[in-house]
Symmetry: C3
Subunit: 261 residues, 3 copies
């Protein structure tokens, strides 16, 4: 019989997160991002700040080549054009054949039935992680966003769910981590969730346990957000500050500030 | 007979502007933006900093759904591709049926006859406000940019014109406000006019008098620009500073610094 | 017999660079940029900070009109979509008919054979300058990236090559300048190379000797990068800092800090 996750395991998560971050800096994984127009620059800069190497092409002629050489792939539905839909399907096909981990970010699917339908189609292709907010999760789960719904969804779809908000819930079929880091200014900057998903991708590139990878990414972005908010005067200065905070985030700070239960 | 706008009315404008800004923060209106690729991120961040909630999709399949749920719509012609033209017409159609206010920003039409033709087509569909610079206005008015031309245009087209430059002129058929806020660094940052137009949209969402809404947006961005310029070392730091300045702008500062006549 | 480039000539380069920068500020040249989605905003802001006037349209209906009125053109292959390919060919055609200088930035061609093929097609149309990194140059030269290969390439193609990295090599058929300015943080910000290429464009607009123009752009961005790095806490604050640094860079600082041999 499999032992339930003990307190010790949860207590290890900040250390595991710090190690995953160190691995990104050492290995410099490539993360290919099919993401929305508003998020592209911030996403590329966040990946570079964390130590990863971004690429962003969505061109039909070359997306397969870029995907094939990536260590992880992000599919973000925030710009829902035909070219990005084709690029997403192509990249996911390459990822699944080559066993490259990929993360899905179904932006705003609660406002757009065609996006929700496409998100479901992609979910059936088994991303390793799904990063989204409660409204978006509700559009996939039929409305329920409590832990039982999360657990059922994660187990049934064999996917790690990273549900972000004031607190972040990271669920696979058996494990739950609740992360209480972060700051309200993060909701005043466009594409913050998209950037968190990209960081999940970078962590998946260096950590085979998708649950640990997702926890690590959300702890890191949450702690960096707190550090940035303490230095920023508002959402404008928050953007450069959070990039600097991820770049300079050291093991001891991450472990000391992580609030995970 | 309608009384002419008295000094007292003009004197009220800073207070009205402050109230409109407060209403944006309280109501958090949705502003759907069809805007150019260069401006998208800055525009979304400015709306968030002001308290509004941006959405930016231009995809044919979903732009109507986003427009229908918006409290105001921005149509900016800065990226003149076929997809954005279709999205603009669809969003305007939804807006006019549902009486959602919309603002037109005819970027660079003086340099591109096809853009100018499209701007005229959209103008015939009666935006509530038109935000542009003198060169762009000249392309619509046949060259004249003096107050008589502004008044004639505003009256004939039933549109509020917000003509921005070293001084901003806000005109409807009967009223004129001249705003002397702002700073030369604003011309050294890309998409500053586009961002001002988005803020006009946010104000239209909470203020039915389009003239007051346009005045409020241009006072706010002008005052924020002055505050930002005082803190910035150049156009790079000016961008986060103006976002912080809009976010932190309080009633007393806005009223004290507004220069409107 | 033509005299070899003397020490005195190389010693003049910082002064020449300062003069070229001053000419940009005085003449405010228009630079039309066909560049990638990730780089557009940063590129426009860098050109504005330097004193140039950017335009970025890629729309088929108007790219010729914008190109015809530009003082220099940038063709960057970082977003390799069909619309940008058509726009690039149209802009280059206009440029070559009107003798407008243009610079090519063949981003990531080492990772994408279709991009490399398109880059070669554009190279045959004789850009005045080619700005790229060693991996990208290797994809054009068949692998060699030493000075002999650079010289042969520059001479054979009648193009100035600006090969950037820890040190920058600027080559035409006869002259070589090596620039040792810059900072490692520049590699942690997306689109830094793209922005350098845009600055090459601005310099080409005011300096007919493409070798001097390319040297000037790379000295300026390198010195600005050093100044920015000294003020920044990481790659996030580095972006506004380098824009401020270009904006405020004065003749004496540029000359004192330039490291060119």
């Amino acid at each position: 019989m499999r032992a339930p996750l003990s307190d010790r395991n949860i207590g290890d998560l900040p250390v595991i997160a710090a190690e995953i971050l160190e691995r990104i800096r050492a290995k410099r994984p490539r993360v290919h991002c099919i993401t929305n127009a508003v998020a592209q620059t911030f996403t590329a800069n966040m990946l570079l700040a964390a130590g990863a190497v971004p690429s962003m092409t969505i061109a039909q002629k070359e997306v397969r080549a870029f995907a094939a050489r990536a260590d992880a792939i992000l599919v973000n539905l925030g710009t829902f054009d035909v070219e990005r839909q084709k690029a997403s399907l192509a990249a996911v096909d390459v990822a699944n054949r080559a066993r490259i981990p990929w993360v899905l970010d179904p932006v705003f699917i609660e406002r757009s039935p065609p996006r929700a339908a496409f998100a479901k189609k992609l979910l059936a292709k088994k991303p390793r992680a799904l990063r989204l907010n409660a409204a978006e999760f509700g559009a996939l789960s039929g409305g329920n966003t409590d832990d039982a719904a999360l657990a059922r969804f994660a187990k049934g779809r064999c996917v790690v769910v990273g549900l972000t908000g004031a607190r972040d819930f990271v669920r696979d079929g058996e494990r739950l981590a609740i992360i209480a880091n972060g700051h309200p200014l993060m909701a005043r900057v466009t594409a913050m969730g998209c950037v968190a998903s990209a960081l999940v991708g970078a962590c998946l590139a260096v950590e085979p346990d998708a649950w640990k990878a997702t926890v690590a990414a959300l702890i890191a972005i949450g702690v960096a957000g707190e550090i940035a908010a303490a230095r920023a005067r508002g959402p404008g200065s928050f953007v450069p500050e959070i990039l600097d905070a991820i770049y300079t985030l050291d093991r001891d700070t991450l472990i000391a500030r992580a609030k995970v239960s």
